[in-house]
């Protein structure tokens, strides 16, 4: 586990002025259904389902699973289908089958609330346990779930470094950073109508991942919340039906 045993250094790194690559410098490379991008010198691949594959580290990153969101609503009297956890885990499992990662990182808000792990059905819990035992599993702390997923196995971290890359839940815009939390979403129009889809947000220095969970909504990339992370704006790698489509900032519309 070379990557995991690396020291959690970082104050230095944070003080260094963030690299500000011009926004449109590295236009991402479309390879089949996926898109490859460069960040902090590493090549990462945005996958159609909204996961990120870091090939050199054999690491699969997913963010904002929001497991047990359905049951969280049911608690309050809204009986959403109880299958969201199963759907999310199944999607993740099929990615893991295909890629056989050494490391899986769940980048925070893995559960919709702290009561989530306790509410899981036996079947879902067994499925998740099985996934966790297949590789090194890292829960990054999120604002919804904190350290609660710990009980299910895997390791909980407040953040994580992979080489020069910093992986954390809430984006800071510090550069060389992969984060989640904001659930980016892009709206593109044409032909008299518009589509709104989840997306990766990317400006060459920072990447914000889409939410992976089956019941997660999205925040438009034109929202002010993204301005702090991407002062010069960001392009969207939009999740179409079975592929990732890069869309330039100029084409993105607010809601």
């Amino acid at each position: 586990m070379p990557l995991l045993s690396q020291p959690r250094q970082t104050s230095q790194r944070r003080e260094r002025p963030a690299p500000r690559a011009p926004l449109c410098a590295p236009w991402p490379v479309v390879i089949g259904a996926t898109v490859e991008l460069q960040i902090a010198g590493a090549t990462v691949t945005a996958l159609p389902g909204g996961a990120l594959w870091i090939r050199d580290a054999k690491t699969l990153v997913v963010s904002d699973l929001h497991l047990e969101k359905g049951s969280s609503f049911a608690l309050r009297g809204q009986m959403l289908p109880p299958y969201d956890t199963r759907a999310t885990l199944t999607k993740l499992a099929s990615l893991m089958d295909r890629l056989s990662p050494d490391i899986v990182v769940s980048l925070g808000d893995s559960f919709h609330d702290c009561g989530g792990p306790a509410r899981m059905s036996e079947g879902d819990r067994a499925l998740l346990r099985d996934l966790i035992t297949r590789c090194d599993w890292i829960w990054v702390e999120g604002n919804h779930d904190g350290r609660t997923p710990e009980t299910l196995g895997g390791v909980v971290r407040d953040m994580l470094h992979l080489g020069a890359l910093a992986l954390r839940h809430e984006p800071t815009g510090a550069g060389c950073e992969i984060a989640g939390h904001l659930h980016p979403c892009a709206r593109v129009s044409g032909r008299g109508r518009s589509v709104r889809r989840r997306c990766f947000a990317y400006d060459g220095a920072n990447l914000v991942m889409p939410a992976f969970g089956a019941f997660t909504g999205g925040l438009n990339l034109c929202d002010e919340a993204f301005a702090a992370i991407f002062p010069r704006g960001a392009m969207a790698l939009v999740l179409a039906r079975a592929r990732v489509v890069p869309v330039a900032q100029e084409r993105l519309l607010p809601d």
């Binding site: 959403l80 889809r197 489509v245």
Partner: protein
């Protein structure tokens, strides 16, 4: 005199003092009421329907004056329109005042302030005028029984408009509940002419559950269906005079603007006192309004009225109509229903009326006096519509009507009702089931299905029983009765009552610059300075989503340029210079051609003697069709195939309306794809459906292509990937209470997040529990409403073995109108990704 004398004093005197004679149906209704009989009154507009409905109540209450009467609700009046309750209350006050009756007549709508609601609950008025939604809310309150148990009469106004809708489902269920508490009450339905009178009568009274004792049944004739005829007809008024515009101008082949008729329409307005100009869509309303003003040389006061306009604006137009200050109002279905706004003497229908009942109703808006005929003018906008207008004209003159009068009740509405009952007086499941099947929409509901819906309300109804511990409704251990788990569950329900799911709407506001007058817009840089200003009205969010800043469109009688969306407003500026708006139309109020009119059009095409009154252009067009192709018999379906440009076309003419044709188009395209014909797209009009592709389609087995079995697997497969099902599902889920109109914790001002989440919920549910009861409900709705499956099925059965195929190297006269519209619609499903691909392609080009 004889009619008046059949009424008691002071009513007879009141009629005489006004110089009026009560109409026969008004007296008959009063006599039936005295015998405790329920009645469905079918009367044309202007027949004094409303007074007829209330007269018996006024008489009963007047006779009741001598006895000391505590506060109790005597008459409950339900109207589909909030505006109608106020209007009717105002009209009732006149006789009440003049006869010095001491009565309390009050309205209860969404606008009624809380203190008045509270007072009404403690001290019910004698007559309460309200809407179906408010009735559902009253049912869901703990004091419902006390409130309703004295009810003697329930009056349902515009019953024909309510019965075939989800609101009608909820109303039928709510009235069954009222009947439990006030079993002897009688019902009065007020309706325009309908095709299925028996069906509507059944919806009105239902049938009382056998196991419910009728306390006062021995004293008065029980108002059940079995008691004989409950339908009462008012004498029909004078036959309307309907003309179809024989335009001197050339009639266009296609399109729906009717622009060519405007000079003649304007001339007709000039001759009338007050004309209502009905159109079928809001876009047409905007266009017609613009066109009329362009040629308004006499500066006649012509106004615009449609559902997207600001309420204040609409009220202003209505007041001006009532005051006689207007000469014409261009309007959509917003003026279809009963409110009386002035002395209309001419109704003009722009474009085809789509249904005979709708046209009759609209014509009834002219001249609210029975003895004088109403006058109407139909202005067809293209060749096919000339046929349709003629057919409608004949139907109206014959007094023939069409349209559904009833429907099978929605399971989502039942779920809402069950939750409503649980939020009020706790219920016993067996009793409630009996009550539910006593209503017409749910008469055929199996017990097992009822239990599934009960479980849907309690736990979401999932096969995975994981929500059993979070029940919304619980069963009392001793009584076995169901009630809401806690007051907040009941409250949550009350916030979400109703079956009207509005599209997400955005305000349309004029952009103003801080401290400046009219702003100029020079691209994105200036936008930040603009602020939302005066509100022009509301528009569907999906329409705005399709716009790019800078696009122009017509709204509120002006051409506007879209700037930006700011919170829940679409910012616009006036664009008076723009000749043609870039985005011409937005949906809203589109009706498909009725089966009935379609049949008449097919007959007309076939019988030369019925074509005599058609304009020469139309007769020529049919004649040439006969020469160059064929004119099918009413039973046959003509299919033409021909090449044009680099593409090959298949056009068929089922005459079954746009919705059924659209569904047919989707399914036939899938089949052609499988046959290797590589279809590229299709287009559905009211009359025809065209498919085009790269391969010739003349050699297809048409019997197989149009076989009924397309409604099986092909339909399933297509629906699975259709956005339509998601929209339908969302509506069902909201009505059933699975998701709230506003999801807690996800509020965004315009509800965008909700739409998104509902799609995700649909995807997951479809994958993991495809036979879930809400998916069944959504499928039923889609089939009924959006896909017109019943009609498509009837079509496929009708043309089985009667498909006539002609293969040409040219376009036929019938095909020409369709060909002019071809090329606008991409195949669905692929369309969404195509938008993303467009964006990507542009970038690829730019970036090399």
């Amino acid at each position: 005199m004889s009619q008046s004398s059949r009424l008691p004093q002071p009513f007879a005197a009141w009629f005489e003092a006004r110089g009026w004679t009560p109409r026969a149906h008004q007296v008959a209704l009063a006599e039936r009421a005295r015998a405790g009989l329920s009645t469905l009154l079918i009367a044309p507009t202007g027949a004094g329907k409303t007074l007829a409905g209330f007269l018996p109540s006024l008489i009963e209450l007047a006779e009741d004056q001598r006895t000391a009467r505590p506060y109790r609700l005597h008459t409950l009046y339900i109207s589909p329109l909030k505006a109608l309750t106020t209007d009717v209350a105002r009209n009732l006050l006149t006789p009440v005042r003049e006869m010095k009756l001491s009565l309390r007549i009050e309205t209860r709508t969404g606008d009624t302030p809380p203190h008045k609601r509270q007072r009404q609950r403690a001290h019910p008025p004698d007559i309460l005028l309200t809407t179906p939604e408010q009735l559902c809310l009253l049912i869901a309150s703990e004091h419902a029984r006390a409130f309703f148990e004295d009810v003697q009469v329930v009056i349902v106004d515009e019953a024909h408009a309510l019965a075939p809708t989800k609101r009608g489902d909820l109303l039928a269920l709510a009235l069954a509940r009222v009947a439990r508490w006030a079993p002897a009450h009688r019902r009065v339905g007020l309706s325009a002419t309908v095709a299925d009178e028996e069906g509507l009568a059944g919806w009105l009274v239902g049938h009382r559950p056998a196991d419910t004792p009728h306390p006062s049944a021995s004293q008065r004739a029980a108002p059940t269906r079995g008691e004989g005829q409950i339908i009462l007809h008012a004498a029909p008024g004078a036959r309307p005079i309907v003309d179809v515009l024989d335009s001197d101008a050339r009639i266009p082949w296609s399109g729906h603007t009717a622009r060519h008729t405007m000079p003649e329409v304007y001339a007709a307005i000039t001759r009338a006192k007050l004309a209502l100009v009905f159109v079928n869509t809001r876009a047409q309303a905007e266009m017609t309004f613009q066109e009329l003003w362009r040629i308004n040389d006499n500066q006649l006061p012509i106004a615009l009225h449609h559902g997207s306009l600001d309420v204040a604006q609409r009220r202003k137009v209505e007041a001006a109509m009532a005051a006689g200050a207007l000469r014409a109002v261009v309007c959509t279905s917003t003026l279809d229903l009963g409110v009386d706004w002035g002395d209309v003497d001419l109704v003009i229908q722009i474009g085809a009326p789509k249904g005979a009942a709708r046209l009759t109703q609209r014509i009834g808006r002219a001249n609210h006096r029975l003895d004088e005929p109403s006058r109407a003018l139909l202005a067809p906008s293209n060749l096919f519509e000339v046929l349709e207008c003629r057919a409608a004209q004949e139907a109206v003159v014959e007094g023939a009507v069409d349209g559904a009068s009833t429907r099978v009740g929605g399971l989502d509405c039942l779920a809402q009702h069950i939750m409503g009952c649980a939020s009020g007086e706790p219920f016993d499941a067996n009793e409630l089931y009996q009550e539910v099947v006593s209503t017409a929409p749910y008469a055929e509901l199996p017990r097992a299905q009822f239990d599934r819906v009960l479980d849907l309300v309690a736990t979401g109804g999932y096969a995975l029983r994981s929500y059993d511990r979070y029940r919304r409704i619980v069963q009392d251990v001793q009584s076995g009765r169901w009630r809401a788990r806690n007051p907040s569950m009941a409250q949550q329900h009350r916030m979400n009552v109703g079956a009207i799911i509005e599209s997400e709407m955005l305000d349309v506001r004029l952009a103003t610059r801080r401290g400046a007058g009219s702003p100029s817009v020079n691209g994105r840089g200036q936008k930040a300075l603009l602020l939302p200003g005066r509100r022009l009205g509301q528009i569907e969010e999906y329409f705005i989503e399709g716009l790019t800043p800078g696009d122009t469109f017509m709204f509120a009688g002006e051409i506007l340029r879209f700037i930006d969306v700011r919170e829940d407003s679409a910012l616009v500026v006036r664009a008076p210079g723009a000749e043609n708006p870039s985005i011409p139309s937005y949906a809203g109020g589109k009706f498909p051609l009725s089966t009935f009119l379609a049949e008449r059009v097919r007959m007309m095409l076939h019988e030369p003697k019925r074509q005599k009154r058609l304009p020469l252009q139309v007769r020529d067009w049919i004649k040439i069709q006969k020469r160059r192709s064929i004119v099918p018999t009413p039973d046959e379906m003509l299919v033409e195939t021909f090449p044009r440009g680099a593409k090959h076309y298949l056009v068929c003419y089922p005459f079954e309306g746009r919705l059924a044709h659209q569904t047919l188009g989707m399914l036939v395209t899938r089949r052609l794809e499988r046959l290797g014909k590589h279809p590229l797209g299709f287009l559905a009009s009211e009359y025809a459906m065209a498919v085009w592709g790269l391969e010739p389609m003349g050699a297809c087995d048409f019997a197989a292509l149009f076989d009924e079995d397309m409604l099986g697997d092909d339909l399933e497969a297509w629906l699975a990937e259709s956005t339509l099902m998601k929209r339908t599902f969302r509506d069902c889920a909201v009505i059933a209470g699975m998701i709230e109109r506003r999801m807690p914790g996800q509020e965004s001002k315009t509800g965008r997040q909700v739409t998104f989440s509902a799609d995700l919920i649909y995807d997951v549910l479809k994958q993991y529990e495809p036979d879930h009861v809400l998916l069944q409900a959504a499928f039923a709705d889609a089939g009924e409403g959006y896909l017109d499956l019943r009609r498509l099925g009837a079509l496929l059965r009708r043309v089985k073995g009667r498909i006539v195929h002609r293969d040409f190297d040219h376009v036929s006269p019938f095909a020409a109108p369709v060909m002019l519209e071809v090329g606008r619609v991409p195949i669905q499903g692929a369309a969404e990704d195509a938008i993303l691909e467009d964006a990507a392609a542009l970038i690829r080009e730019a970036m090399g």
